[in-house]
């Protein structure tokens, strides 16, 4: 729940370079690790200078509750992430979190669908679901542009499930094509309800939601938006709310009402 979020200093205790522009950092932050649920995120202050000014949002990739550590997985896309990627073990990050509403774990059969760096929160979720419902394996579909972007991460997901399918844009690993194509092929299960949990680029999410509607599956999506504060003060992170005909147009906020939404809460017609 967003209201229990805290501001803490977290020491970086591990840095991994997954690819030339994808990094994973392990951070000691027990006050956050002990409260976080999958789908929640952190606002990370990159430095103490005035530029880059704003914190950057990162979903929580994994936690080790017994060790009080959490991980973030990120891609370098601009000056904030570039500076963050240069940090070393022993340096401290100023963190706000855990923030937002996470995934609503259902006892149903589940499929996790991730695209690109959107796979980040799904590892935490996969682990969580495996612990909550031992014996009920998740089906996990991960998509990336190339083998290089996804291969190292598949090992972590493979520890949790045998039912792991990959799709790459260039065909260098797994299915040659896009993740929604793999989801389309999954047979609806008559006996049990099914929930799809998804995170990735907006066009991918839109296709996933369309497929879920057709197949009668529940879908929860993790959305991104440009945000300044992440703590429901600035109101920057607006997404259009799905509205009935007589309702006035209004917005939901990714940091407070999300980042995880039930697919039907959101207006996908943009």
């Amino acid at each position: 729940m967003a209201l229990s979020s805290v501001q803490v200093a977290g020491e970086i205790i591990g840095v991994e370079k997954i690819t030339h522009d994808i990094f994973r950092q392990t951070i000691l932050a027990p006050e956050i690790a002990h409260q976080a649920v999958p789908g929640q995120f952190l606002m990370v202050r990159i430095g103490f200078e005035l530029d880059p000014l704003l914190r950057r949002p990162f979903s929580i990739h994994q936690i080790r509750e017994d060790e009080g550590t959490l991980q973030i997985l990120f891609k370098v896309i601009g000056k904030g992430t570039r500076l963050l990627s240069q940090k070393r073990e022993g340096e401290t990050l100023d963190l706000l979190g855990p923030l937002g509403k996470g995934f609503n774990a259902q006892p149903d059969k589940n499929i996790l669908v991730g695209g690109g760096i959107g796979v980040a929160p799904l590892l935490f979720l996969a682990d969580w679901l495996a612990n909550k419902n031992p014996g009920s394996a998740s089906k996990i579909l991960l998509g990336a542009r190339t083998r290089e972007e996804i291969e190292a991460l598949t090992h972590d997901f493979a520890k949790i499930t045998d039912d792991l399918l990959i799709a790459t844009d260039d065909g260098s690993m797994g299915h040659h094509g896009f993740i929604p194509e793999l989801l389309e092929k999954v047979q609806p299960c008559e006996s049990k309800p099914l929930t799809v949990y998804s995170c990735g680029p907006y066009p991918m999410l839109k296709k996933v939601v369309t497929i879920c509607r057709k197949k009668g599956w529940n879908a929860q999506v993790s959305l991104e938006a440009m945000m300044a504060c992440g703590i429901s003060a600035c109101l920057g992170c607006a997404v259009k709310k799905a509205a009935g005909k007589s309702e006035k147009m209004s917005y939901l906020h990714v940091c407070k009402d999300g980042p995880v939404f039930h697919s039907e809460e959101v207006d996908w017609n943009e």
Partner: protein, 306 residues
């Protein structure tokens, strides 16, 4: 040795310290309760309130710029009725003063809001946002024409007994002219500056970064403009001035106070450092002690330009 006094009087509004929050950066207060003790603030200025709820602009609404950010939130707010029913009860439990920022499309809107909030328990002052467009006059912002700024002030002055603070837009040729116009209209204090109008472009998409195309610039980048305007206005009006614009630490706040500000508002800094306000209160206190001042009053307008 007693700690220096931090008390200031912004007209009839007495504050335990000069640190206030800037409207639009602190929600309705409760958003920050897990990060700092809200009782330590001089005043909380809440998100701007209109008569009816406003949904705000389509996204993207915010974008970072060098040492700053642009926002085109679009004045999203719950409207005055829901503010009173849902947000004010929490604020009544806090010791800090509560200032309600109000905005409208017409002079009548401002008058109506002032009337509605006048006798409401827990509201200690109004801050009047005149950077809004006057839709009855072709969308020219109230705060850019001295005569309109004066009229809005008079309308609000006649509609309520609360202390009224007029918040000025910097997007004008002559800020002193606007300041004098609101002083003449009956303002108890002036706060400045609101955001500077700016723009940013995504060169790869060849599109503006904001859906609204233009937005308001805030943050450290605007501080020099804000200090200059505070100084110019403070030289030319008798009523208290509240300084706003890129304040991130106590040093910044003291610059504004030396330039003539009786109090200051902290805005964008809250996003980066949720306890920026309390850090600033402590920093001002430390500065006063260092120079053996007995009271923060001693630095207000103490700039030496000889």
């Amino acid at each position: 040795m007693n700690k220096p006094s931090l008390k200031v009087a912004v007209g009839a509004l007495e504050l335990k310290n000069p640190v206030m929050t800037a409207s639009g950066t602190f929600g309705y207060g409760q958003e920050y309760e897990t990060y700092l003790d809200l009782n330590t603030l001089g005043a909380i200025v809440v998100k701007g309130i209109s008569i009816k709820p406003r949904p705000g602009n389509p996204p993207p609404r915010v974008v970072e710029t060098p040492s700053g950010m642009l926002n085109a939130i679009g004045l999203e707010n719950v409207g005055v009725e829901r503010f009173i029913d849902e947000k004010l009860p929490y604020l009544r439990k806090i010791e800090s003063k509560v200032v309600v920022n109000i905005l409208g499309d017409s002079i009548d809107d401002y008058r109506q809001l002032a009337e509605t909030l006048d006798d409401v328990t827990g509201v200690h002052a109004l801050e009047i946002n005149i950077s809004c467009p006057n839709v009855k006059k072709g969308g020219v912002a109230f705060g850019t024409v001295p005569k309109m700024a004066n009229e809005v002030t008079k309308a609000v002055r006649n509609a309520c007994r609360l202390p009224i603070i007029l918040k000025l837009s910097p997007n004008v040729t002559n800020i002193v002219e606007i300041a004098k116009a609101v002083e003449e209209g009956g303002a108890d204090a002036i706060s400045l500056i609101n955001t500077l109008l700016g723009m940013a472009i995504d060169i790869h998409a060849r599109r503006p970064k904001l859906a609204n195309i233009v937005g308001g610039l805030s943050g450290p980048a605007i501080k020099p403009v804000a200090i200059r305007m505070v100084w110019q206005v403070a030289q030319n009006v008798k009523i208290p001035v509240i300084g706003i614009g890129g304040i991130t630490n106590a040093e910044d706040a003291i610059e504004f106070m030396l330039a003539g500000a009786t109090a200051i508002e902290v805005g964008t800094a809250n996003f980066i450092n949720p306890h920026a306000t309390i850090d600033i209160v402590n920093g001002i206190s430390a500065f006063l002690e260092k120079y053996n001042y007995k009271s923060v009053d001693e630095i207000i307008g103490a700039l030496d330009v000889s």
